[in-house]
Assembly symmetry: C2
Homo-oligomer: 294 residues x 2
């Protein structure tokens, strides 16, 4: 039975671990807040007390945590995975982080003889549960091949984005930005319809059954039409973090992104209004409020 | 054999007439520039010299023209269809025009005892050819039922948007705005990837085979990734006209639409640079140019 370490048992991590267990992997889990492990332990995972205890020498550790700083601490801290992963060990990093964080960690792991694969995913917790995540993958070719069965146990498709470690993160950030843009666009279009006396859900149905019949518009279209932003599948505070990463990357590469600036302002104002814990589609409340609507 | 009038033989009108002929309708066509009728005449349509000559008393006339002014002239001018349509005649208006234009024309036709159905479509000329248009429909219920076989001969689905004549136009304008927003979003995301050394088409493929697997992103994604904006399926100058209609409607109904303002500026600048005859996806050239890219 292949052993895998898994660090980070949030909304996404928990269903991902369950799918690894279902696929027959032996999984050692660690989470900063230990009581979040109860469900996966019940499902067969072994809980350990330190990040480094998830490591099997030469093995694979998956990380799925909330931001760059947490990820780097998990690698570099004295009880982190960095020193212990060892020659040929692989860090499969599935969090949404900056491309530069991946580049830095890839270099660090390389110096230790281990590998770093950037592997963020598209899909919300429901998709994770249903093993329907889309998994991106960039880094060393041989290491990518070794982690593929693990990625496939959690997702419906794996995209190979080359050997440059930051690539998968760039694509993930760009995708999250495109979701934010789609949410703002739907809000404005639905508001125009509502102001003309039409039913938002009927209008959403026209768009999402024709030109925009895809995951993002179907999922968020219904929420934005109904103005229902809870429960939070993906918290607005995390969306703001991702949007900041998009703008950082835009800044570094000198890529003006006026639409990213617009949605960044939406997220920032939403956070200022105390909506950080709501679903990120709540960024569309601002358009409603500006239009004098509930 | 049911007779139908058809006015407006542009990129969209021609394939639409051909599908009416295929479905067994007898079609009388009129176009301002007469020589554009040659293909449909060859396919079996009868060409007439004045708009009013397309009218069969109590019958149905379809209009598919480039803007509000042309449409109103076709109705009100001495040789227009307005006076001649007669009691129970129906004007099936498929152009993309302002909701207020539809409301005004509906009122005019009602005074004459005839009917006006607003029925703009989603889909480019290829979709028109393949009888794959999505057809929206708003206006008098009985008249909507009478025109349905005609709409179905040209499209894959008809959406009933109620009796208020402007509704279908509001939904059409909102949809065109959402397309513009999607194009700008893709341009910015693809540029970020290109600036990071990635292949635009690979990245477009990731987005359009996952979260954004729908008509708009698949079609325009490929064009924006390749930076190929010709031939023009839908001219940028017409996109600018539609965006102006969106902002007019936003203004009238007091619906702030910052993203619509952003894409409006893109279209305006593109027109200023002489790109009015290119496909409207050429609005994305500005993002490329701002990023110092070809």
């Amino acid at each position: 039975m292949i052993e895998v370490g898994f660090i980070g048992l949030g909304n996404m991590g928990q269903p991902m671990v369950k799918n690894l267990l279902k696929a027959g992997f032996k999984v050692k889990v660690y989470n900063r807040t230990p009581n979040k492990a109860s469900e996966v332990v019940e499902a067969g995972a072994e809980q350990v007390n330190r990040p480094c205890d998830t490591v099997t020498p030469d093995g694979i550790v998956v990380t799925m945590v909330s931001n760059d700083q947490v990820l780097e601490e998990l690698v570099y801290s004295p009880d982190g995975i960095g020193e212990k992963l060892g020659k040929d060990g692989i860090h499969l990093s599935m969090s949404t982080v900056a491309p530069d964080t991946s580049r830095r960690l890839a270099k660090y792991h390389q110096e230790k003889g281990s590998f770093y694969i950037a592997s963020p995913v598209f899909g919300r917790p429901e998709a994770a549960e249903a093993q329907k995540l889309w998994v991106m993958s960039s880094g060393n070719q041989g290491a990518k091949e070794r982690v593929k069965p693990i990625q496939e146990a959690m997702g419906q498709k794996v995209f190979d984005l080359g050997e440059e470690p930051g690539n998968a993160n760039v694509v993930k950030l760009g995708g999250n930005f495109m979701i934010m843009a789609a949410m703002e666009a739907m809000a404005e279009a639905f508001n125009l319809a509502e102001k003309n006396g039409m039913d938002r859900e009927t209008v959403a149905e026209v768009y999402t059954s024709t030109l925009f019949n895809c995951t993002v518009y179907n999922g968020y279209g219904a929420m934005i039409a109904k103005k229902m932003f809870e429960p939070a599948g993906f918290q607005l505070a995390l969306g703001l973090k991702d949007c900041n990463l998009v703008l950082d990357e835009a800044n570094q590469t000198k890529t003006p992104m006026p639409l990213a600036n617009l949605v960044h302002n939406r997220l920032l104002a939403s956070a200022a209004k105390g909506r950080g814990n709501q679903d990120w589609s709540a960024l569309t409340k601002l358009a409603n409020e500006e239009a004098g609507m509930e």
